[in-house]
């Protein structure tokens, strides 16, 4: 105390104006700085102490990494807290209040629930695929059957009503391309027949019957089994590009 008055007197002597100004600290210290200071100092002391002590061996560069790790971990949470305190003290005060509730034992059982689902899904995938294929063939067989029965009925009715016209019907009412198709008895013959068509024939056919190539027909005949799984898009942004590249190179190979 004596010293203070001594210093004050000294100043009074030098500059009464300065001595009369209240001692107010204008410099700000970050909040919680002093609370955290001891931790920072002990960390630093611990690290420097260990650097000097060569008998205790640790991996090279460990302490340089450690101090950063510890400080950045402290800093990250402190940063977030400090930030919201500065932006809005109201929100800072509400930070740790919980509002939502979770059913009891929910987290204990979660992994089991997920595994049950994964296993059920796995089993389902196999059954869906096989049944889908089965349905495809069944539907194709049914359509083929209906066409066969339908055409037989047309021919039968014709033969009952007017037997003599049967040959005329076959030769006059049936378009040429259908008549031509009668010569193909096996899929192999049909393939050969299609292969022998000229480009002009195909263009001509498509111009006359292009409407049969509707969207449904196209989408029903596209094989989607090779498309990447939805989750792949999430994992890798290039999934779609890779798939298209793969598909293009396949097409070129053929």
């Amino acid at each position: 105390m004596e010293k203070t008055s001594e210093i004050l007197n000294e100043l009074q002597a030098i500059s009464p104006f300065l001595a009369n100004i209240d001692k107010i600290n204008v410099f700000e210290v970050p909040e919680d700085y002093f609370q955290l200071l001891d931790k920072r100092i002990t960390t630093t002391v611990f690290l420097t102490g260990n650097k000097k002590n060569e008998t205790q061996k640790v991996p090279e560069g460990y302490f340089e990494g450690l101090s950063n790790k510890i400080l950045s971990a402290i800093k990250n949470t402190e940063d977030a807290k400090e930030e919201i305190k500065n932006i809005s003290p109201v929100l800072f005060s509400l930070k740790d209040k919980s509002t939502f509730t979770v059913p009891e034992h929910y987290f204990e059982n979660l992994s089991n629930t997920i595994f049950t689902k994964i296993k059920v899904k796995k089993a389902k995938v196999i059954s869906i695929n096989s049944s889908k294929r089965w349905w495809k063939y069944a539907a194709a067989a049914a359509v083929a059957g209906i066409i066969t029965i339908g055409s037989l009925q047309i021919f039968n009715k014709k033969s009952i009503s007017d037997n003599a016209d049967q040959i005329a019907f076959a030769s006059a009412n049936v378009p040429d391309y259908i008549k031509l198709s009668f010569q193909y008895k096996t899929p192999q013959q049909l393939d050969n027949g299609i292969a022998s068509l000229s480009d002009a024939d195909i263009v001509n056919y498509l111009q006359q019957h292009g409407n049969v190539l509707d969207d449904d027909l196209i989408s029903n005949n596209i094989d989607t089994t090779e498309l990447p799984d939805a989750v792949d898009y999430l994992i890798n942004d290039n999934t779609l590009n890779n798939f298209l590249k793969m598909d293009n190179s396949k097409a070129q190979g053929e």
């Binding site: 977030a80 932006i87 209040k97 992994s111 689902k117």
Partner: protein, 183 residues
């Protein structure tokens, strides 16, 4: 048995067919609560959160073989959880366009229907304030305010620059404060 906490060790267990489930269980146990709360704050109801969380872990199971270790598992999981939550909210929006014109009201109504809801309590006003934000701002606010995620990491989760995230958080906090003071 020593307790395994390291992601790297979980991934190694997962890659071995004999310990695959053990590794996966470890990952679930380690991250389930963080991810649960991240999703819960976005979709609000527990049941919806449970659906989204389970679906996301099923996707993780399928995709973990292809997980590239140049990114952190934690960041990758947050990314999937975020995408799944946003997809879920979009589906909800589509379903509700006929009955509810404003989807934000949908989530606020869900909050109000919570059995513990108390309009006079500040913590519930805070939740209503958060729900009044646009989706992206809500995400940024939650990740910073509750998860205390560094901007650098958030930038990897949300594919947005750190500067934009800081600005977004600032706006979000100010809007919520205003909401609380006016309600």
């Amino acid at each position: 048995m020593t307790q395994i906490q390291n992601d790297q060790e979980f991934l190694e267990l997962f890659r071995n067919p004999a310990t695959k489930e053990q590794g996966f269980t470890g990952i679930i146990k380690k991250y389930q609560e963080k991810l649960y709360w991240h999703i819960r704050r976005m979709v609000i109801s527990h049941d919806d959160t449970d659906d989204v969380l389970q679906n996301m872990f099923i996707k993780v199971w399928k995709g973990l073989d292809n997980f590239r270790e140049d990114s952190q598992l934690y960041t990758w999981l947050y990314r999937i959880a975020t995408n799944e939550s946003l997809t879920f909210l979009n589906q909800q929006k589509k379903r509700n366009t006929v009955s509810i014109s404003n989807d934000e009201n949908g989530l606020s109504n869900q909050l109000k229907s919570d059995s513990h809801f108390d309009a006079n309590k500040l913590e519930w006003k805070l939740q209503l304030g958060i729900q009044s934000l646009p989706e992206k701002q809500r995400l940024v606010f939650n990740l910073r305010y509750y998860d205390e995620m560094p901007y650098e990491e958030m930038s990897r989760v949300l594919d947005t620059s750190e500067g934009a995230l800081k600005a977004s958080y600032h706006h979000a906090a100010k809007k919520i404060e205003e909401f609380i003071l006016n309600h």
